[in-house]
């Protein structure tokens, strides 16, 4: 009796599982189709696209569109390809992510472990900055950058992204450190560790999971930003602005294969960050749960 009912329970379970997997598969395909179209068409000569089926695999495989997008395509007036802009973006995003994460971690540390009068108000104000739309700050930001002599430079963009990023990075680290036992900080104080020693030796070593979250968030946001890039980039435009120039150019024929390749190039770093850091993120969570 009990065995029979158990049997049917298992069977039910299996049907559910099959259903779930089929549904997931359908959705996965649905989301992967655009990527497939992009990759497939970026590897075809232009003639195959204009004269044929977008959904088909290339008849003649070529990496010519990729090379062109990377190094010779017309961006604005110069035939430089996306390469210099890609480098601009890297030069912008790496320091911006590092600086905003470090400041966020320090803020979180102070707001939870070195509490002072009015700390919650300050945190509230910082949270508020997460909800200010980019457009509102364009003009004041331009004025500040002008005063600092950073208009139209990568350094200016770094500053803008750091300032905008601090709200979120502080939120992440504050909430993470709020759950971190204060007794550890007190023990370290009695042991003679100073403000930065406690941060460096005690807090940071256990901040892996939240650092990954923060870095993924900041990297994607800063890399994908377009508005600040075109507004404040000047000559040193980031990748997003360059891609726009490439795709929107009104002269000549539309080279869809080159556009696809360029778009994938622009998305590649964020994809990479998700794939590499995402795994560490899961690993960090697992380590915490196993320790219990």
């Amino acid at each position: 009796m009990s065995i029979a009912s158990q049997d049917s329970a298992v069977k039910n379970n299996r049907t559910t599982m099959v259903l779930i997997y089929v549904t997931l598969l359908v959705f996965a395909l649905f989301y992967l189709v655009p990527l497939f179209v992009m990759i497939a068409n970026s590897l075809k000569p232009l003639s195959e696209i204009t004269g044929g089926n977008m959904m088909a695999l290339p008849k003649e495989w070529t990496i010519e569109p990729w090379l062109k997008a990377w190094s010779t395509a017309q961006i604005g007036v110069e035939p430089t390809g996306l390469r210099p802009y890609f480098i601009n973006s890297i030069i912008m995003v790496v320091p911006a992510v590092i600086i905003s994460s470090i400041i966020g971690a320090l803020n979180g540390y102070v707001l939870t472990k070195w509490r002072f009068k009015g700390d919650t108000i300050i945190f509230g104000l910082m949270l508020f900055s997460c909800f200010i739309p980019f457009q509102i700050v364009l003009i004041p930001m331009a004025m500040v950058l002008g005063k600092l002599g950073l208009s139209g430079s990568v350094s200016g963009l770094i500053l803008v992204h750091v300032v905008y990023g601090i709200g979120f990075s502080t939120l992440y680290y504050r909430n993470y450190y709020a759950a971190f036992p204060t007794e550890l900080v007190r023990a370290a104080m009695i042991d003679g560790a100073g403000f930065f020693q406690i941060f460096w030796r005690i807090m940071l070593p256990v901040s892996g999971p939240i650092t990954v979250v923060c870095v993924i968030w900041q990297f994607t946001n800063i890399w994908n930003d377009f508005l600040f890039g075109v507004s404040f980039g000047g000559q040193d435009q980031p990748m997003t602005a360059a891609l726009n120039n490439l795709v929107q150019s009104s002269t000549g024929v539309k080279e869809y294969n080159v556009h696809f390749a360029g778009a994938i190039l622009a998305a590649l770093p964020t994809l990479l960050v998700y794939i590499v850091a995402g795994r560490y993120f899961v690993r960090g969570l697992m380590a915490g749960s196993v320790k219990g």
């Binding site: 007794e183 007190r186 023990a187 042991d191 003679g192 020693q197 030796r201 320790k291």
Partner: protein, 370 residues
């Protein structure tokens, strides 16, 4: 002049006063236990001694030096926390030597100190493990090691055993006592467990509501509790405290109970009749072990006249049997020998060791000092 002086320390959080004029002098080598129910201010006082919290007024002095404005790391104290507070990213060895490293002690000395402490606490095989790979008892040892290695003037313990299971707690208690006897260091130890307080301390400060209710040796606190709170807090089962009226008959004072049924019980007090007024109300405090079943009392003490009453509940616990009896309408717990045969619901006769009885003022609840 004490080695560690807590002089008129008060602490307020905003308008809420959590410590009121705490005044305790601790001698060198003394084991002071701060005991009291949760929320009474024990940890706050300990943190003030450590320098982790600021005091609102008063003074902390260690070794004749005011340390009110001295950073915790320079007070030459070490602290063991309830959660052990081991650094999760460091090995046991790194945990123990972190404080020495922060004080710029050379590596060779650090290693020598580590080996001494590891040997003393028998944690040598654990030195390369992370705290996450240790059992509760092992973590406790490591936390002690971290405190010992600094060779401080004063050890501060904040409920160090309350995260351990019952058996381990008793074992570690004995070890802490042994360690204190061996090292003869000054210790301030916080606990809410009165048995820990009694067994470990050379003196106990019983705290309640931010006040020190009584400061004294374990036997003082147990035998002459300052007030009803201390009487009921220290000792398990708690002291029986029941209202009574004093009657003076033939130059002797009696504590009289009426249970409404007209059957009065009179217990002749050891205290002289001249200390009382006829008809005075008191609270009578009787320890469970001061009550005996008839025929089994201690011969060398002042024993009351036997009284017959109903046995309400009998709880054998091995060595002792706790018998709840009805004394003039009040439930009174007695601690009798293990093999006593007094089934509940029967009538039996009991006596009280009157030398152990304490009297309290029913208004102030303070002990009547007579």
């Amino acid at each position: 002049m004490g080695f560690l002086e807590i002089n008129n320390v008060t602490k307020s959080y905003g308008a809420v006063k959590v410590l009121h004029d705490i005044d305790i002098n601790v001698d060198e080598g003394e084991f002071l236990v701060l005991v009291g129910p949760s929320g009474c201010g024990k940890s706050t006082l300990l943190n003030i001694i450590a320098g982790l919290e600021n005091l609102t007024s008063g003074e902390i002095a260690i070794n004749d030096q005011t340390v009110n404005h001295v950073h915790p790391s320079n007070r030459n104290i070490a602290m063991v926390f309830q959660s052990y507070a081991l650094y999760p990213n460091m090995t046991v060895a790194q945990n123990i030597t972190f404080g020495l490293e922060m004080h710029n002690v050379p590596k060779s000395e650090r290693e020598a100190a580590l080996n001494d402490v590891a040997k003393l606490l028998q944690i040598e095989p654990l030195l390369n493990r992370k705290p996450g790979q240790l059992s509760g008892g092992q973590r406790q040892r490591v936390a002690m090691g971290r405190a010992l290695v600094r060779n401080p003037d004063v050890f501060l313990f904040d409920e160090p055993l309350s995260n351990l299971d019952a058996k381990l707690r008793v074992d570690m208690r004995t070890e802490i006592k042994k360690l204190h006897q061996k090292l003869k260091k000054t210790i301030v130890y916080v606990t809410h467990d009165q048995i820990e307080a009694m067994t470990l301390s050379s003196r106990i400060a019983v705290m309640y509501n931010g006040y020190v209710q009584q400061l004294g040796t374990p036997s003082e606190v147990y035998n002459t509790p300052a007030n009803v709170f201390v009487a009921k807090f220290i000792g398990s089962p708690a002291m029986n405290v029941i209202p009574a009226t004093i009657t003076i008959k033939a130059k002797h004072a009696f504590a009289c109970f009426e249970d409404g049924s007209g059957k009065a019980i009179d217990l002749q007090l050891s205290q002289p009749a001249s200390s009382f007024n006829n008809g005075q109300s008191v609270l009578l405090g009787i320890r469970p072990e001061a009550i005996s079943d008839l025929g089994n009392e201690d011969r060398n003490v002042n024993i009351s006249k036997p009284f017959e009453t109903m046995v309400m509940v009998t709880e054998p616990s091995g060595a002792d049997t706790f018998v709840t009896l009805n004394l003039a309408g009040h439930d009174v717990v007695s601690r009798l020998r293990g093999d006593v045969a007094l089934p509940s619901g029967t009538l039996a006769s009991f006596t009280v060791n009157m030398d152990k009885v304490v009297l309290f003022d029913p208004e102030t609840e303070n002990r009547l000092d007579i």
